[in-house]
């Protein structure tokens, strides 16, 4: 199955997180919110200017800027 960056995912697409490439504060923040390998995510929508993006993880809604989503690798179906 292919790995893509979270930014490239389409609305309503689902996938499993494969890796987080960010370190430091951003890396910690992403992980604190549950963006860790193995978790399933689904893209819910994008803001009117296509950035940030909102997604469903572990039953809640999380939003990320596109440049933050770039650090997240997802295995999509």
């Amino acid at each position: 199955m292919p790995y893509i960056q979270l930014r490239q995912m389409q609305v309503n697409q689902t996938g499993i997180i494969a890796g987080i490439k960010a370190r430091g504060e951003l890396g910690t923040r992403l992980r604190d919110m549950g963006l860790v390998p193995g978790k399933e995510i689904r893209i819910l929508g994008k803001a009117p200017l296509y950035d940030p993006v909102s997604l469903r993880i572990m039953g809640f809604t999380l939003t990320l800027r596109n440049n933050e989503a770039d650090h997240i690798l997802v295995e999509v179906n």
């Binding site: 370190r23 910690t28 860790v36």
Partner: protein, 709 residues
Amino acid sequence: MGIAIALAGNPNSGKTTLFNVLTGARQHVGNYPGVTVEKKQGRCVSGSDEFHVVDLPGTYSLSAYSLEEVVARDFIVKEQPAMVVNIVDASNLERNLYLTLQFMEMGISVCIALNMMDVAKKRGIDIDIAKLSSLLGLPVVPMVARTGKGRDDLLKIVADHAKTRTRSLKISYGRDIDEALDEMVEKISSEHFLTDRYLPRWVALKYLENDVQILEMGKEQNPQMDTWLSSVTRKLTHHLDTTLDTHPEGMIADQRYGFITSILKQGVMTCTRDKNRIETSDKIDKIVTHRFLGPMLMVAVLMGLYQFTFAYSAVPVGWCEGFFGWLAGRVDGLLSDGLLKSLVISGIIDGVGGVLGFVPLIMFMFLGISFLEDTGYLARMAFMLDRIFRLFGLHGASVMAFIVSGGIAGGCAVPGVMAARTLKSPKERLATLLTVPFMNCGAKLPVYALLVAAFFSENQARVMFIITLISWVGALLVAKLLRSTVIQGPATPFVMELPPYRLPTFKGLAIHTWERTWQYIKKAGTVILGISIILWAMMTFPRLDTAITADPAQVGTQQAAARQTDEEKVDQASAALRHSIAGRMGTAMEPVTRLAGFDWQTNIALVGGFAAKEVVVSTLGTAYSLGDVDPEDAGSLSERLQSAPGWGPITAFSLILFTIFYSPCFVAVVCIAKEAGSWKWGAFSMAFNTLLALGVSIAFFQTATWIMS
């Protein structure tokens, strides 16, 4: 003293609701020492037990990256509460337990208040409370904080278990990390390195996580140990990097979530419904954050908030003004003319009136914003606008502060500055605080109205629109400038939760609004009264020998001083004003301000405008020997300016530009200093804004005169 408990939990988990349920109205709001993080505490009684409750800031984790998280863990370590009550959202168990694990790793006594059981049930989530409690080894109390259900059970558990230390949790982080941890723990224990406060394993973990605060403390206490621990960390980091393409920090977080998953999979949580079912919140979001409908709805909401804050507060503001006007009238009748009367009316009554005049505004603003925040809409606004505001180094949530300050002409920077509290990112918040005063507040409008009526009477609407545009563009550009100079640094990660839509409770809104308003009265009030008296003195002293009766200083909004229409007295007032400290300042600055087209009369008026921007109009009136000028109806002054030497459209527009950008009124300055946590930023906004305004006005005046000549 009672049993000390600390409430901790994720944002949006119902922590504040629980705090209100526990303490009712008996709460006290302040700040944690030295920082601007809000600290709420209160008492509560249940049976024979008395509790002292502290509400820790809402956090998702306990890293050293945000002030809130550092404050929360420092409080627990330093104050040693008998128990930490960790509010956990039952409908969002997995993520909430991440914080719980970190408390348990610190080895402190924790119990879980499992909130929102009703929401979880509705979503088809079934939680085995007994199993969760036994697997984690700590008490778990099911609750519905909104209705107060479970309150007594919780307090009973706390009273029973307080001081019984929970066994500290040891999660396995995989062989590599565990081996390093064991090695570090052994040496930390034998050297007693930071162990007066923390558990050895926790210190080791923080070294592996590169925790700035602990690293700093370690370096100070024992540099040798610090070097050794750092070298172990480096070795492990290198090893993990080459073998697994990861690093300790990431691995630790991953394992914590792995631990939670393994617990939940042992039958703690069962989902009886399709997890991909579309929740009501998602349906609302389809419309509310829709590409076209979303922004339209947002404009409507912002207009509504604006209307609510400024139109509906007009009535109580009117009562306030009426009352202080009446009071000034009474004093006017009681005291004989002279210094004392002038001090009481222009210094004290106008000062107190000025402070209290903002109270209805602040109350309505907080009521409106709390409502938007508690429903979850505020987060959606930040989500939709972030792309634009980020360009200027701000955050999507900055919009609220800009709008309230006068982004739609007629707001007020005082509640606007306070509205910046909804921003959680420190740098973006400071940049917002410093730039919202450029918006066109209601007090600047009389100044514009006067100048526009006098010099741009044919294009009034267009000029007003240009003014609004200039203040927005100016504010955003200055924000960008500040974020790339004095408030430098990368953007704080946006990573934000969109909480499900909820209907706020009336009690929650009322408590929230009242406590914010009271804080304003208490904290800002005293300072503002003091400055108001100083300003009065500046515009009164030193006095002309002949001017005993006149009251040239019109400080504040209630112009209740003795009305004198007598031409002679009016001339005298003008002379007395010029003779005062403010007058001398104005005269002394004339050589510089001439470059922007301002004469000394304008300068004095601008000094007066520091008290409140509309005072510019009345002071101009005094300086141009017109006696009292009502800012709302300045027709005579308008005519006077048209014929005054040196005045023309260019001068007028130069003054408009200056009014947009120069120092915020002192009430706003005091609020900026309080919100930024330092007087340094209050002083900065005065100096920086005034210099900026001078620069802009001079540039405009010189260019325009050159083109016209």
